[in-house]
Symmetry: C2
Subunit: 240 residues, 2 copies
């Protein structure tokens, strides 16, 4: 019972462009948008129903199944979409090369602006990072881990960080990324258009990142630590 009649679908994964597929993509988009909109108003992704999504997309419930097997699959599609958009933005942000302090300032500002412009996606990510099902949670965390790795390789190119192992650089990066995640989540709960609040959040982020860099300046690389261990305390000590 193998399928003999082959449709015009080609073997490569290029998007279809027929009039019918255009229509399909349009309602698929409508479903995704409906879900995002409902998440903003409602509580979380798994407290909205398939019927609600369909209704909000102007489509009958059963039509939903033409696009997604169930709500989980739609959720995964949203994760993918959100992270893909974010990654592209970060790639653009890294294009510019500037002196350190300006680079921090600029990166933070453009990132926060981006979050504001794509609020719906970040609301979704923030809520599902821990609230969602296991698969969704894991794919979000995996996405964040990817950002940490990318930032890590960027840091490796900075002159005053070359002496550190990749493991150490990963730690520095993860602190910065986590810090930004935190700021993001604060930003999402500030009423839209409150530019003063956004400014102070940006300033806070800059200061926190700066503090971390100041810390790295004093951090004793793992490679050097052994030598000092012989005559000194085990862990790098604070200067009182």
């Amino acid at each position: 019972m193998t399928r003999v009649t082959r449709s015009r679908r080609r073997d490569d994964d290029q998007p279809e462009v027929g009039r019918r597929d255009a229509r399909k993509q349009r309602t698929r988009r409508a479903l995704l948008d409906a879900a995002l909109e409902l998440i903003q108003g409602e509580q979380s992704f798994n407290s909205i129903s398939l019927r609600e999504v369909a209704r909000n997309a102007g489509v009958v419930p059963t039509a939903f199944y033409r696009h997604f097997r169930d709500m989980d699959e739609l959720g995964l599609a949203l994760v993918d979409e959100s992270l893909r958009a974010l990654r592209q933005m970060m790639r653009e942000a890294r294009a510019a090369t500037l002196p350190t302090s300006h680079l921090i300032r600029r990166s933070v500002r453009t990132y926060l602006r981006y979050v504001q412009d794509n609020e719906r996606y970040f609301q979704f990510l923030a809520k599902e990072r821990f609230g969602g099902g296991r698969t969704i949670r894991l794919s979000i965390r995996q996405g964040i881990q990817l950002f940490i790795s990318e930032l890590s390789t960027d840091l490796a190119r900075w002159p005053f960080l070359t002496k550190y192992s990749t493991e150490e650089l990963q730690m520095f990066s993860s602190m910065i990324v986590n810090l930004m995640v935190n700021i993001t989540e604060l930003l999402l709960d500030t009423p839209y258009g409150d530019e003063d609040e956004v400014d102070s959040l940006a300033e806070l982020a800059e200061q926190q990142i700066l503090l971390i860099f100041l810390g790295t300046g004093q951090w004793i690389p793992k490679s050097e630590r052994r030598a000092r261990e012989a005559q000194n305390a085990a862990t790098p000590e604070l200067k009182p």
Copy 2:
């Protein structure tokens, strides 16, 4: 139509101890426990139903209303319970006074141990911090802010931090607390009993906290910054 018949309830808020109230407290507890248990298995708080909670507590749905107006009220009770327990634990942890590095190590270890022992509460907090309704979200954030303030006043007593303003100390504290929140959320997703993973998480937390303290050692206090501004750059600069 003021109520004339007064029950034996006294005006102070001491807990009642009658046989009937004992019974009431018992099923109230059963409801809270049922909710916590369901949250662990299910997705999030707002995807579990009143009937489920009642059923899981061995009680008929309508009995629920004798204890909580609706699920939101139960949610708030859970927030309160979770944070109250945590605060008490932190108070105990601060009791011991030890040299700096040992104090960090000890605090981190006992905290993580506590999280493991009260996993259900922290699961709930992590999931509802962003996934829940507005009131629950806010009361959780307010609770976290309280920890930041308490840590901040503790830091103020440390000799090498006395030169900083309360605002700056708040920033340091918030970084440490947020860092620990992050570690907590990682801990919650490690399978129970994997002590090696717990150990490496503890070590990671210690290193990150240490890095922040190293940063504070290089941080130029706001009070001194003005004097340097005259002849130097605006923000404290990195030594390359």
